[in-house]
C-alpha cells in the first residue's frame, strides 16, 4: 500500500477498500518507526492529522471526493499552516505557530488531502544537504551515512522512505530537483508564477517556486492539479486558465526534440552520473526522441549570479526576523540594538548569516552597480540562452546534480563545493523555467553503494504538462522510480 501511486490510493479510498484513517495510521506507524533515525519530519501532530483523515472519510462517504481526498501528504516546513508550528528549519521560528494557511495548504485542505506533518529542510531553504537545519540533518534513506540533498531534504527522504504518499517542496536554486535526484524520486519545479508563493516563507522571492515531490510523474501531475493556479494574494502569480496536468501523460514521444546542452556534460560531472544520464538518453531515443546538441553558454555564470541575487533578496526578506513581534528573542539585552543583535545572532545559523552578509554587501552603496545590477544583466543573458535553445528543441535534458548523494559532513566546511551541487539547476530558476528530476538509474559510489541518479528535464515556460508526459512515458518503460531503499539495512537498494 505504501508503494501505491496516488491514483491507486485514491481509487482504493473511493472504493472504500481502505479508509483515510487506516491509510494515515499506517503512514504514521512507519513514521514512528523510521523517522527517529531518518529525521525527515520536524513537526508531527497526530490528532490534527487524524482529524483531517476522519473528515476525508466523511467526505468520501458523502460521495464528493476529489482525486487526493484522504491521501496523506507531507508539507515542507516552509509553508505556513494554521495552528501548526512552522519553523522553516530555523531556531528563529522554532516557537512560531502560524495563525494562517499558505495558499497551497488551503488548496490541499480544499480537496480533502491529509497533512501528515511538516518536513525537515535546510534553514530558510539555504543549503544543498539539509545539514543547515536547526533540527538536525536528514539521513538519505538509500544510505544513512549520506545526505538527502537540500533544501527540501526532509520531503525527499520522506517520499523515498515511503513515510508519506507524496510531499511538497520548494526550489530556489535546485531545492526540489537535487534532493529528488539524490533520493531517487520525481520532483517538479514549475514555471515561476504557476504556484502561489503566498504563505511560503520567502528565501529569494524572484526565484522561489513550490512544486511536488513524489514517486512518479503521474503523482506529480495530480499534485500539480492541486497546487497550481492563480492567487490574487501573490502579485507574481500568473492569471492563467486552470490546467489539467495529467492531460498529456499518455502522448507518444515520437518526434520529440531533446536538447543536450554541452555545458551540462563537461568537467565537474561525475563520470558515473554521466553514464546513467547517457543510458537514459538512449532510452528516449528508443521512445522516438530526436537528440539535438545545444549550448547554454552562460551556464558557468549561473552560480556567481545566483549567489549575488539570492542573498541580496534574502538579506532583505529575513530582516523581519528581529525578535520584536514573533520568533526568537534573546533572553537578556541592554537596549534595542543589543536585542536585535543578540536575537539574530542566536536565532540564525551560520549559512543563513553568511548569505545575509553577502546580500547586505552586494546591495550596499558603492557595490550595488558592480554586483546586483551586473548580476541582473547576466540573468537576462542566461534567460536568453534558453530562448535560443528552445528554438532548436522541445525539452532540454541533462543531469540534475553533478554527483550522487555525498557523505554527511563532507562539504559543510566548503560552501563553494556545496554551491556547485546546484550547477545544473540554478539557471532554470534564474530564467523562471520549469525543471524536473526523474529517477534514471543508480551509480556505484567509491565505497560500493548503489545510489540514485536523477535525469533533469527542463521545459519551456508553462510546458509542465509536456514535461510530465516526457517523464511519464519514460517511467512506462523503466522501473527506476519504483525502486525502494531497504530502511532496515539502510545501505542501498533493497
Amino acid at each position: 500500500m505504501i508503494n501505491n501511486s496516488l491514483k491507486q490510493l485514491g481509487d482504493m479510498l473511493q472504493a472504500k477498500t481502505i479508509s483515510s484513517v487506516e491509510l494515515t495510521q499506517s503512514f504514521l506507524a512507519r513514521i514512528s518507526q523510521y523517522n527517529p533515525s531518518i529525521n525527515a519530519y520536524i513537526s508531527l501532530d497526530e490528532s490534527k492529522t487524524l482529524a483531517q483523515a476522519k473528515a476525508a472519510d466523511a467526505r468520501i462517504a458523502a460521495g464528493n471526493a476529489a482525486p487526493l481526498t484522504g491521501i496523506p501528504i507531507a508539507q515542507k516546513d516552509i509553508f505556513c499552516a494554521k495552528d501548526w508550528r512552522t519553523t522553516c528549519g530555523s531556531k528563529m521560528l522554532a516557537n512560531f505557530i502560524s495563525p494562517y494557511d499558505a495558499h497551497i495548504i488551503s488548496q490541499f485542505d480544499a480537496v480533502g488531502a491529509v497533512n501528515l506533518g511538516k518536513t525537515n529542510m535546510d534553514e530558510f531553504a539555504m543549503g544543498s544537504s539539509n545539514e543547515t537545519s536547526y533540527f538536525g540533518g536528514v539521513k538519505n534513506p538509500w544510505s544513512y551515512d549520506r545526505v538527502p540533498g537540500g533544501s527540501s531534504g526532509g520531503s525527499a527522504a520522506a517520499v523515498a522512505a515511503r513515510l508519506c504518499a507524496a510531499a511538497t517542496g520548494t526550489d530556489t536554486g535546485g531545492s526540489i530537483r537535487q534532493p529528488a535526484s539524490l533520493c531517487g524520486l520525481t520532483g517538479l519545479k514549475p514555471t515561476y508564477g504557476v504556484v502561489s508563493r503566498f504563505g511560503m516563507i520567502a528565501f529569494a522571492s524572484s526565484l522561489d517556486q513550490a512544486g511536488p515531490m513524489a514517486k512518479s510523474a503521474e503523482d506529480c501531475a495530480l499534485m500539480m492539479n492541486v497546487m497550481a493556479g492563480f492567487d490574487e494574494r501573490d502579485s507574481t502569480s500568473l492569471n492563467r486558465a486552470k490546467e489539467d496536468y495529467t492531460k498529456d501523460l499518455n502522448k507518444p514521444l515520437a518526434g520529440l526534440k531533446v536538447g543536450l546542452p554541452k555545458e551540462f556534460f563537461a568537467e565537474g560531472l561525475d563520470a558515473s552520473v554521466g553514464k546513467v544520464i547517457e543510458t537514459a538518453i538512449e532510452e528516449y531515443k528508443k521512445l522516438g526522441a530526436e537528440i539535438v546538441e545545444i549550448s547554454l553558454p552562460n551556464t558557468g555564470l549561473s552560480i556567481p549570479v545566483y549567489y549575488v541575487l539570492a542573498p541580496a533578496e534574502a538579506s532583505s526578506n529575513l530582516s523581519r526576523y528581529d525578535g520584536v513581534r514573533y520568533g526568537h528573542r534573546a533572553a537578556e539585552y541592554t537596549d534595542l540594538m543589543d536585542m536585535y543583535c543578540k536575537s539574530r545572532a542566536e536565532g540564525f545559523g551560520a549559512e543563513v548569516k553568511r548569505r545575509i552578509l553577502i546580500g547586505t554587501y552586494v546591495l550596499s552603496a558603492g557595490y550595488y552597480d558592480a554586483y546586483y545590477l551586473k548580476a541582473q544583466q547576466i540573468r537576462r543573458l542566461i534567460a536568453q540562452d534558453f530562448v535560443e535553445a528552445f528554438n532548436k528543441c522541445d525539452v532540454i535534458m541533462g543531469p540534475a546534480a553533478p554527483s550522487t548523494a555525498f557523505k554527511a559532513g563532507e562539504k559543510v566546511d566548503d560552501p563553494v563545493a556545496m554551491y556547485l551541487q546546484d550547477i545544473y539547476t540554478i539557471s532554470t530558476n534564474l530564467a523562471g523555467l520549469p525543471g524536473m528530476s526523474v529517477p534514471a538509474g543508480f551509480a556505484q559510489s567509491d565505497d560500493g553503494k548503489s545510489l540514485p541518479v536523477g535525469l533533469q528535464i527542463i521545459g519551456n515556460y508553462f510546458d509542465e504538462a509536456r514535461m510530465l508526459n516526457v517523464a511519464h512515458q519514460y517511467q512506462q518503460v523503466t522501473d527506476w522510480h519504483v525502486q525502494t531503499p531497504n530502511l532496515d539495512k539502510s545501505e542501498g537498494k533493497a
Partner: protein
C-alpha cells in the same frame, strides 16, 4: 552680508483609500492598537504585498493635477532599515522610478508688511507611492515600549519640490496650496492633527547673489503651518548666526520643539543608514497606460487654475481676486453660491476675500477655512443685496455682518455655508439693520436739508472750494455724513453737494 534662505519641501499626504496600500486592512484613524494589523501589516513569515489600485488612482490624479509626467512604468523598491515599528525591516517605496515625475504648483504668496502679494511657480521634482510605518508607543506599559501597527502600510504619496522657495512665507504658501490641492482633488483628507498631511522642510542659507547651495538641514514632521513658519524662521536665523559666528552647518535632521520654538538636531546625516534600495521582487513594475490616465482625467474636478480663469471671464474678476477665491474648493463654492443667491459678483468677491476671510482668519488662523464662517452664502448674498439697493452703506453692512456672526455663534447655528435651506432666517438681516438703526438715508429731501445745514455752518470751506481747493469738497462730504450719523447715502450726498456748490 545679506543672506538668502533656500527651502525645499517633502510632503507626505496620506491617501484616501479604504484599505492599506499593500493589504486589505482598514486605515481608519484612532482604532485600538493593533486591531487593524492583518498578517501583512505584522509582516508574518510568508505574507506578500498586493498593490491597492485606489492608491495608484490617487497618484495619477495628483500627477494630472500638477500637469506632471506620469511614468508609464514605475518600480517599487525596498528601503531597508531596522526599526521596531517597521515590521518587515524594510519600507516599500519608490526610488529610481517614481510614479509621478516633474510638475509644478503655482502659489499665491500673501502680502506681508510693505511687501505686496505675488504669484510664484514651485517646481515639483517627483511624487511617489509608499507605505507608512507603525508607531512606537512609550510609557503605556511600565518600562517597555509598545508597537502599534495599525498605521503600518497606510498609503502615502510623498511629494518632493525643487529647492525653489526663498522665505518661510513662500514655504508656508506652498504647503497651504498643496494642502488645498490634495483635498480639492479628493486624494487626501488634509487632517494635519491626525498626521494625514505632514511636511519635512529642507532649509539652507547662502550669501545673496551666489549660486552654490549651502548645507541643508531637514526639519522633520511639521504638522501645522504655524509651526512650519516658526521652525523655518528659527532655523534660518540659527544658520545665519552660526555662519556669521564663523561656524559651519552640518547636514542633519532636526526636530522643531513647539514649546521652545527651537529646532534641534536629532541625528546627523553622516551616521545615516545605507538603505540598500533594490526593486521589490514581490511586486511587478507598475504600468500606467494612456487609457488609465484618461479614466482618472474623466473624474477630475475643475482644477483651481481652470476655475480661476473662468472666474475672470465669467464674473469679470481681477486675477488676484480669482486666485484668492480658488485657493480652496469650499471657498470657491461659497463664492459661487453667494453670486447664485443674487449678489453682484465683484462685490461678492470683495467681501468674500476681504471681510469674510478676515473674520474667519481672526477666529481661527490655523484652520483658515471658510468652513468656520458663521455667515452662510445666502445670508451674505442678502446682505450684499441690501448694499446694492441702497438700504445700507458698505460700512454699515460690516456692522450687520459682525452682529449676524455673533448671533449665529451665540445660538450655535449650524450654518449651511452654501444653499438655500436658511431662507427663513433671512429676515434676521433686516431685523439687525432695523434694531441698530443702520438703514441708509436715501430720501433726497432729507439729505438736501442736511447739506443745506452743513453749507451754512461751513462758509469758510465753501469759500476755499470756490477758490479752487478741491480738498474742501471732501471735507464738506465728511461733515454731511457726520451730520447724518453715517446714514446718508454717500452717493446722494455727493451729487447734491456738487449741484449746490456749482449752481
Amino acid at each position: 552680508m545679506e543672506w538668502e534662505v533656500v527651502i525645499g519641501l517633502e510632503t507626505h499626504a496620506q491617501l484616501q483609500t479604504n484599505t492599506k496600500i499593500f493589504s486589505g486592512a482598514s486605515i481608519k484613524y484612532g482604532a485600538e492598537p493593533n486591531t487593524q494589523a492583518c498578517e501583512v501589516s505584522i509582516a508574518l513569515p510568508g505574507v506578500l504585498p498586493v498593490l491597492n489600485r485606489q492608491a495608484v488612482h490617487c497618484a495619477i490624479k495628483f500627477g494630472l493635477a500638477i500637469n506632471a509626467e506620469i511614468a508609464p512604468r514605475s518600480v517599487f523598491a525596498r528601503k531597508n532599515y531596522f526599526y521596531p515599528d517597521l515590521p518587515k525591516g524594510y519600507q516599500i517605496s519608490q526610488f529610481e522610478l517614481p510614479v509621478v515625475g516633474k510638475g509644478a504648483v503655482t502659489i499665491q504668496v500673501p502680502s506681508v508688511g510693505k511687501n505686496a502679494a505675488y504669484e510664484k511657480v514651485v517646481n515639483i521634482t517627483r511624487a511617489h507611492l509608499e507605505e507608512d510605518a507603525g508607531k512606537s508607543v512609550h510609557g503605556a506599559v511600565e518600562g517597555m515600549s509598545g508597537i502599534d501597527l495599525n498605521r503600518a502600510g497606510t498609503p502615502l504619496l510623498e511629494i518632493v519640490t525643487e529647492p525653489d522657495m526663498r522665505s518661510a512665507a513662500e514655504a508656508v504658501a506652498y504647503a497651504k496650496q498643496l494642502h488645498e490641492l490634495v483635498q480639492w482633488i479628493g486624494i487626501c483628507d488634509g487632517n494635519m492633527q491626525e498626521g494625514s498631511f505632514r511636511c519635512d522642510v529642507n532649509v539652507s542659507v547662502r550669501p545673496k547673489g551666489t549660486e552654490k547651495l549651502g548645507t541643508r538641514r531637514e526639519i522633520k514632521n511639521l504638522n501645522s503651518f504655524k509651526f512650519m513658519q516658526q521652525a523655518i524662521e528659527y532655523e534660518t536665523r540659527w544658520q545665519i548666526e552660526t555662519l556669521e559666528d564663523g561656524g559651519t552647518i552640518h547636514q542633519a535632521t532636526v526636530l522643531f520643539n513647539p514649546d521652545t520654538g527651537e529646532t534641534r538636531a536629532m541625528r546627523s546625516k553622516e551616521e545615516a543608514n545605507d538603505y540598500r534600495y533594490f526593486p521589490d521582487p514581490d511586486l511587478l513594475p507598475l504600468v500606467i497606460t494612456e487609457a488609465d490616465k484618461a479614466l482618472v482625467q474623466a473624474e477630475m474636478p475643475e482644477l483651481p487654475s481652470a476655475m480661476k480663469a473662468r472666474f475672470e471671464t465669467q464674473y469679470g474678476l481681477s486675477g488676484y481676486d480669482a486666485s484668492a477665491l480658488t485657493t480652496s474648493r469650499e471657498l470657491a463654492d461659497y463664492f459661487v453660491a453667494t453670486v447664485e443667491a443674487g449678489a453682484d459678483a465683484k462685490q461678492a468677491a470683495n467681501w468674500v476675500t476681504g471681510n469674510v476671510m478676515a473674520k474667519v482668519n481672526s477666529v481661527n488662523s490655523e484652520a483658515y477655512s471658510i468652513s468656520s464662517s458663521k455667515v452662510g452664502s445666502e445670508h451674505l448674498a442678502q446682505l450684499l443685496k441690501r448694499i446694492a439697493d441702497g438700504t445700507v452703506s458698505n460700512n454699515a453692512a460690516k456692522q450687520v455682518f459682525e452682529e449676524l456672526w455673533v448671533q449665529n455663534t451665540l445660538t450655535n447655528v449650524s450654518v449651511q455655508l452654501t444653499g438655500s435651506t436658511i431662507t427663513s432666517q433671512l429676515g434676521a438681516i433686516d431685523a439687525i439693520i432695523e434694531a441698530k438703526g443702520l438703514k441708509q438715508e436715501s430720501d433726497s429731501g432729507a439729505i438736501e436739508a442736511i447739506v443745506d445745514e452743513v453749507l451754512a455752518a461751513n462758509a469758510a470751506m465753501v469759500e476755499e472750494f470756490k477758490a479752487g481747493k478741491e480738498k474742501a469738497f471732501n471735507a464738506l462730504v465728511g461733515q454731511a455724513m457726520k451730520a447724518s450719523k453715517g446714514k446718508a447715502n454717500p452717493a446722494q450726498v455727493n451729487d447734491i453737494l456738487k449741484k449746490k456748490l456749482t449752481s
